[in-house]
């Protein structure tokens, strides 16, 4: 190559790369379009009804008190409290984002809670047995946590759906977003989180989580089919 051709070859290679990067940029948005969540999540279902005065729950979007991350990937957030006949109060937080990216994803509740001054006393991954789960849906891979801050302790159950994956591991989630993205598909994400204020986080037994699982099962069952896919995934029919 002569002196004059080298820069021109470089330019050509860079143009090719720019075009390839443009070509592989995912543009096919997920099909789900059932919005807003406030309309599709029933206010009353099974044994549960919405509390008129909701409990002040930790905002799933919050990075710090009073601050919402401007790049946070949320298109819709729903926070409600429900109560049943026995007086069990459950805080529900749903956070949906249509476009999950490598660096801009739904925040994991453990980070959300810690960044707001809670410490995680206990955390375990869990296969949530949703008793009323519709046939054909796979088991939901989620997690349970006991968290506490001065003056308040909570028991938390949650799962995060990213595309067709229950996100339990950061690298698997990244790999899923990447492989779907290279095929041109944007993946969406949904955080489903329930929590209850507990008097003493250390004393919260498994019964705590049993109530939460029953609530989640009832909720998923009570959702209309297309909205249910937002929560637990599955193919559109």
């Amino acid at each position: 190559m002569s002196a004059s051709t080298r820069p021109l070859m470089l330019v050509l290679a860079m143009l090719l790369a720019a075009a390839a990067a443009w070509y592989f940029t995912p543009r096919a948005m997920p099909a789900h379009g059932v919005m807003p969540l406030a309309d599709v999540v029933p206010r009353q279902f099974a044994e549960w009804r919405e509390l008129d005065a909701p409990v002040n729950a930790i905002d799933p979007r919050g990075q710090r008190p009073g601050e919402t991350d401007p790049e946070a990937p949320y298109d819709d957030v729903l926070m409600r409290s429900y109560v049943n006949a026995r007086g069990d109060v459950v805080m529900l937080a749903l956070a949906y984002g249509r476009h999950q990216r490598q660096e801009v994803k739904i925040h994991r509740p453990e980070l959300c809670y810690t960044s707001q001054g809670y410490s995680i006393l206990q955390q375990s991954s869990a296969t949530l047995a949703l008793s009323a789960q519709p046939a054909g849906a796979g088991a939901v891979q989620g997690a349970r946590m006991l968290v506490s801050a001065p003056g308040r302790s909570e028991a938390v159950s949650y799962w995060i759906r990213i595309g067709n994956l229950y996100s339990t591991n950061a690298w698997k989630t990244r790999a899923h977003i990447f492989t779907e993205g290279m095929q041109g598909r944007v993946v969406d994400g949904m955080l489903v989180r329930v929590s209850q204020i507990v008097p003493d986080a250390g004393a919260a037994g498994p019964a705590r989580f049993e109530v939460q699982e029953r609530f989640l099962g009832d909720l998923v069952h009570a959702m209309p089919a297309d909205a249910r896919r937002l929560l637990i995934g599955g193919d559109a029919t």
Binding site: M1, S2, A3, S4, R6, P7, L8, L10, V11, A13, M14, L15, L16, A17, A18, A20, A21, W22, Y23, F24, T25, P26, Q63, R64, P65, D69, P70, E71, R101, Q102, E103, V104, K105, L111, T114, S115, Q116, G117, S119, P150, A170, W171, R174, I177, F178, G181, M182
Partner: protein, 292 residues
């Protein structure tokens, strides 16, 4: 007088820079939006400006030259572009930034030869410090660092007699409580300050290997110290002037931190030089200015 050949050469360079801009201006726009515009500090833009300045400083000495064999340059450029395509299309910002390094090294090697590479390798390598660290990696390193920072600030101010208490990453001073948030714990700024440390060592240009190694080893402690001072000042300003002053300080403390770190390197470097002179010329009555 610029003849037609000059004109051609200039146009080739305009094209090369246009190509680089096409690839990487979108990258920096994204990184600015997602990382730099948040309160993670001005260190990124400072380092970017420094890189451009270091390149600009060399502009007179840069000549088009093809004394280097093409193969290694082509390999570097192709590897970089192959990394760039998935990184850019799937917004993996870390790899997008890193991809610039082989592309630029290879491009310089191909067009400006060995001498060009010798002059430009350092600013190109500094690009590493522009790379945003992905959240999932950050989270694993952040929590202990956050703990250390708040523990050190707590202990120091407590010893100085301030009414301070700590619960995890929440510091309570007087009537105020402060949360050492992700951005405050400064892993991002630790990375950027390390870049500034390397820059200092490069610019200082000492010939003594021991001196340079000592300086390099001082980078992390000095960066950590700058971080501690920033958090301690934030706590004290909140204590004396209230929460709104603290917040105003917090939003601009990044510049101060860079200045502190640079000052720290400068002071440590000069301390080393003093020690060096003291051991080298113990009987000298004359200030040893001329030895440098």
């Amino acid at each position: 007088m610029p003849g037609p050949r000059w004109g051609n050469a200039r146009w080739r360079w305009v094209l090369v820079f246009a190509g680089l801009a096409l690839l990487f201006v979108p990258t920096y726009v994204d990184i600015y939006r997602v990382f730099w515009s948040l309160e993670r500090g001005p260190q990124g833009p400072i380092i970017l400006a420094t890189i451009l300045w270091l390149v600009w400083r060399q502009r007179a000495a840069l000549r088009e030259c093809t004394d280097a064999p093409a193969a290694p340059g082509i390999a570097l450029v192709v590897a970089g572009l192959l990394l760039y395509v998935p990184a850019r299309s799937q917004s993996i910002y870390l790899l997008e930034v890193i991809a610039q390094i082989p592309i630029l090294l290879g491009g310089v090697w191909l067009t400006m030869g060995r001498e060009g590479l010798r002059r430009l390798w350092f600013p190109i390598a500094l690009i590493v410090f522009l790379a945003p660290i992905p959240g999932s990696l950050l989270d694993q390193v952040l929590l202990p660092l956050k703990g250390w920072v708040s523990a050190t600030v707590d202990t120091t101010l407590h010893l100085l007699g301030y009414p301070i208490a700590r619960d995890g990453v929440v510091l309570t001073i007087g009537a105020y409580s402060l949360l050492i948030a992700d951005a405050c714990s400064g892993l991002n700024s630790m990375v950027a300050l390390s870049g500034i440390g390397l820059l200092y060592v490069y610019l200082a240009g000492h010939t003594s290997r021991a001196h340079n190694i000592t300086l390099l080893l001082s980078i992390l402690p000095i960066a950590f110290l700058a971080n501690i001072i920033r958090v301690a000042l934030l706590v004290l300003i909140t204590y004396y002037r209230g929460e709104s002053s603290g917040k105003a300080f917090h939003d601009h403390a990044g510049v101060l931190e860079v200045a502190l770190a640079f000052g720290g390197f400068f002071a440590f470097d000069h301390l080393l030089m003093l020690l060096h002179r003291a051991t080298r010329a113990p009987r000298s009555f004359v200030p040893a200015r001329h030895t440098s």
